[in-house]
C-alpha cells in the first residue's frame, strides 16, 4: 500500500519552530477567513472586507504548503493537504448557502 516512504528524511532541528508556527497559523488564518465571511453575511462588516478574507485564505494555503514542504510530506499527504485547503475555501460558502435557504423557507 505504501510505495513511497512517508518519512524519508529527518526534520531539521531548525525547521521545527517554523513547522509548528505555520501549522498553528493554518487554522488561525483559516478561522479569520471563515470569521470575516460570516461577519459580512450577518452584516457586521462591509462587503469589500471579503478581499481581506480571501487574502487570509491565501495565507492559510501558503502556511499549509510551508508546513508540508518542511516536514517532507509524500505525494499522498500533499494531496490530502490540498483537499483540506479547498474544503476550507468552500466550507463557509456551503454553510451560508444552506442556512440562507432554510431561513428563507421558514420566514416567508
Amino acid at each position: 500500500m505504501v510505495d513511497e516512504a512517508l518519512m524519508s528524511r529527518d526534520i531539521l532541528v531548525d525547521d521545527f519552530l517554523t513547522i509548528f508556527i505555520s501549522s498553528t497559523l493554518v487554522l488561525i488564518f483559516g478561522g479569520f477567513y471563515v470569521g470575516i465571511y460570516t461577519a459580512i453575511k450577518v452584516k457586521l462588516l462591509k462587503n469589500w472586507m471579503m478581499y481581506i478574507g480571501y487574502f487570509f485564505w491565501i495565507l492559510t494555503a501558503y502556511c499549509l504548503y510551508l508546513m508540508g514542504s518542511l516536514m517532507h510530506v509524500n505525494d499522498f499527504t500533499a494531496k490530502a493537504l490540498v483537499v483540506a485547503a479547498i474544503g476550507l475555501l468552500l466550507l463557509p460558502h456551503a454553510v451560508y448557502y444552506m442556512q440562507d435557504h432554510v431561513h428563507q423557507e421558514n420566514e416567508h
Binding site: M1, V2, L6, M7, I11, V13, F16, L17, I19, F20, S23, T24, V26, L27, I28, G30, G31, V34, G35, Y37, T38, A39, K41, V42, K43, L44, M67, M71, H72, V73, F76, T77, A80, L81, V83, A84, G87, L88, L91, P92, V95, Y96, M98, Q99, V102, H103, E105, N106
Partner: protein, 474 residues
C-alpha cells in the same frame, strides 16, 4: 420553558448530577495542582501521594465529572424537548446514587490502596492502570449498568414523547457512547492490541460521540437561549453529525501511527486529521451566525435589547465554540501529521493539547448547562451576569489558556532536546526536563493552575448564589 423545574422530577435529578459533577470538577483541579506542584518540587508528598496517584485521580475525576454533567444535561433538556416527564425517573434516581457511591469507593481505593500486586485481583478491585479508564473492573461493570439504565430512560422517553431531532441525535449518540465503553474492559498480554482497543474508548468518546453530544447541547442552547429557529438548528446538527463522525471515526488513525499497527494508518490518520478541524470551524461559525441572525431579526423589529436570555450560560457556550476550535482544532492540528508526530508524540505538547481540548470542548459547555439549570431552578426569565460570573469565566478560561501556553513552550523544548537532538533516551528525557524553558514552563503552569482553581471557587459561589441576585428579569 416547556416544563418548569417545580413540576419536573427529571430536572431535579439533573441538578443532583450537576452538583456531583461540580464537586468532582473541584477534585480534578485539586489533584491537578498536586501533580503540578510535584513537577516543580519533586519531593512533595513523595511516596505518600505520588504523581502517578495524583494524576490518576486528576484524569479520572475529569472523565467522571463530565459524564455526570452529561447525564445531568440530558435529564435537564429531556422534558423540554419531548414535552413529557422522563420515563423511568425512579430508576434514574436509583442509578444516580449507585453511580455516586461507586465513584466514591473507587476514589477512596485509589487514594488509600494505590497499588496492588501484579495479579487479576488488583485489576478487579484496585485499578486497571490504563490511562483515563483506570476504574477497576467491578466499577467498569457498574458503570456499564448505570450507562445502560440511563440510555434506557432516554430511549423510553424519546419514544413515548415528542422525538425531536436533538433527542434523536442524543439517542443514537448515547447508545454508541455506552457501547464503546465495553471495548475498553478486557485484559490482554499484547500491549499493541491493548492500546488498539483502548483508543476505541478514548478516541471514539472524545473525538466522536462526545463532540456530537456537544453539538446537540449547543443546538438546545441556541434554541433556549437566543430563540434560534429549531429547523435551522436541527438541520445544522445533522450536518455536524455527518462532519464529526465522517472525520472523527477514521481520525482514529492518528493514534495508530506508533503502537505497533501497520503503516497504512499514517495515510488514514493524516487525511482524516487534516479534515477533523473543519467541523470545529463550522460549529464555531454556526453559533456566531445564528446569534448574528437572531440579533438582526430583533433589530429589524426595532428592538435594541439582547436576544440572550442567559448571559453567563451563553458566554460559556461561546467559550465552547472558541475553545473547541482552539484546543481540539489548533492545538490538535499542529502535531497531528505523522511526519511531525514522530517527534512530538508523548511530549508536553500532548499535555498542552489535552488540557485545552478537554476544557474547551467539554468543560465550557457543561458549565453553561449548569447555568441553564440555575436559571430554570430559580424560574428566571433573563439571567444576567454577576461580578462572580465574570470573574469565574475570566479566571478559569485565562488559567487554562495560560497553562496551555506554558505547557506548549515546555513541549517545544521537550521535542527539540529530547527527541530531535538526543534520540528519545532516558538521558535525553532528563536533559530536556532540565532546560530553562521546560522548568519555567512548568512553574507557569502551576501558577496558572492556581488561577484556574480560584476561578473555580468563584464559579461555585456564583452557581450557588446567582439565583438569589435581584437584577434578573423574572
Amino acid at each position: 420553558m416547556a416544563s418548569s423545574y417545580s413540576k419536573s422530577e427529571s430536572k431535579k435529578l439533573a441538578t443532583w448530577y450537576f452538583t456531583v459533577a461540580a464537586t468532582l470538577f473541584g477534585a480534578q483541579l485539586l489533584f491537578g495542582l498536586v501533580a503540578a506542584i510535584q513537577y516543580v518540587m519533586p519531593g512533595f508528598l513523595f511516596e505518600i501521594l505520588d504523581f502517578s496517584v495524583a494524576r490518576m485521580v486528576h484524569i479520572n475525576a475529569l472523565v467522571v465529572w463530565m459524564v455526570f454533567a452529561m447525564f445531568g444535561s440530558v435529564y435537564w433538556l429531556l422534558p423540554d424537548e419531548t414535552g413529557i416527564e422522563t420515563v423511568g425517573i425512579g430508576l434514574g434516581k436509583l442509578l444516580f446514587w449507585v453511580f455516586t457511591a461507586a465513584v466514591t469507593v473507587v476514589v477512596l481505593v485509589y487514594l488509600f490502596i494505590q497499588v496492588g500486586p501484579a495479579d487479576e485481583t488488583s485489576i478487579w478491585f484496585i485499578h486497571e492502570g490504563r490511562e483515563y479508564i483506570e476504574a477497576p473492573r467491578w466499577a467498569d461493570l457498574g458503570i456499564t449498568v448505570v450507562a445502560l439504565g440511563f440510555v434506557a430512560n432516554l430511549f423510553m422517553t424519546g419514544i413515548k414523547g415528542n422525538r425531536s431531532g436533538i433527542v434523536t441525535v442524543l439517542m443514537a449518540d448515547m447508545i454508541a457512547f455506552a457501547g464503546l465503553y465495553l471495548t475498553g474492559m478486557f485484559y490482554t498480554d499484547n500491549i499493541s492490541i491493548d492500546q488498539f482497543w483502548w483508543w476505541w474508548v478514548i478516541h471514539l468518546w472524545v473525538e466522536a460521540t462526545w463532540e456530537v453530544f456537544v453539538g446537540a447541547l449547543a443546538a438546545y442552547g441556541l434554541i433556549t437561549m437566543i430563540g434560534a429557529h429549531r429547523k435551522v438548528v436541527e438541520m445544522w446538527l445533522w450536518i455536524e453529525v455527518a462532519m464529526l463522525f465522517g472525520s472523527g471515526i477514521l481520525g482514529m488513525g492518528h493514534h495508530y501511527f506508533w503502537i505497533g499497527t501497520p503503516e497504512y494508518w499514517w495515510e488514514i490518520g493524516a487525511l482524516f486529521s487534516a479534515l477533523e478541524p473543519l467541523p470545529l470551524v463550522a460549529m464555531f461559525i454556526h453559533v456566531l451566525y445564528d446569534w448574528g441572525k437572531m440579533q438582526g431579526e430583533e433589530a429589524a423589529k426595532g428592538q435594541d435589547l439582547s436576544v440572550i436570555t442567559n448571559k453567563p450560560a451563553f458566554t460559556w457556550f461561546i467559550m465552547n465554540a472558541l475553545g473547541n476550535f482552539l484546543g481540539a482544532g489548533v492545538w490538535g492540528f499542529f502535531h497531528t501529521m505523522p511526519q511531525v508526530n514522530l517527534y512530538t508524540h508523548g511530549t508536553q505538547f500532548t499535555s498542552a493539547h489535552g488540557h485545552l481540548a478537554f476544557f474547551g470542548a467539554y468543560a465550557t459547555i457543561l458549565i453553561g448547562m449548569m447555568y441553564l439549570a440555575v436559571q430554570g431552578k430559580n424560574n428566571i426569565k433573563i439571567l444576567n451576569n454577576t461580578k462572580s460570573s465574570i470573574w469565574a469565566v475570566s479566571m478559569i478560561v485565562g488559567g487554562v489558556v495560560g497553562m496551555t501556553v506554558a505547557l506548549t513552550l515546555a513541549g517545544y523544548s521537550d521535542v527539540i532536546i529530547s527527541r530531535a537532538q538526543m534520540g528519545a533516551t532516558w538521558a535525553g528525557y532528563f536533559d530536556a526536563q532540565a532546560t530553562t524553558w521546560l522548568v519555567q514552563g512548568l512553574v507557569w503552569r502551576l501558577l496558572m493552575g492556581v488561577v484556574t482553581f480560584v476561578g473555580f471557587l468563584f464559579l461555585v459561589k456564583d452557581l450557588l448564589s446567582i439565583g438569589k441576585a435581584t437584577h434578573h428579569v423574572r
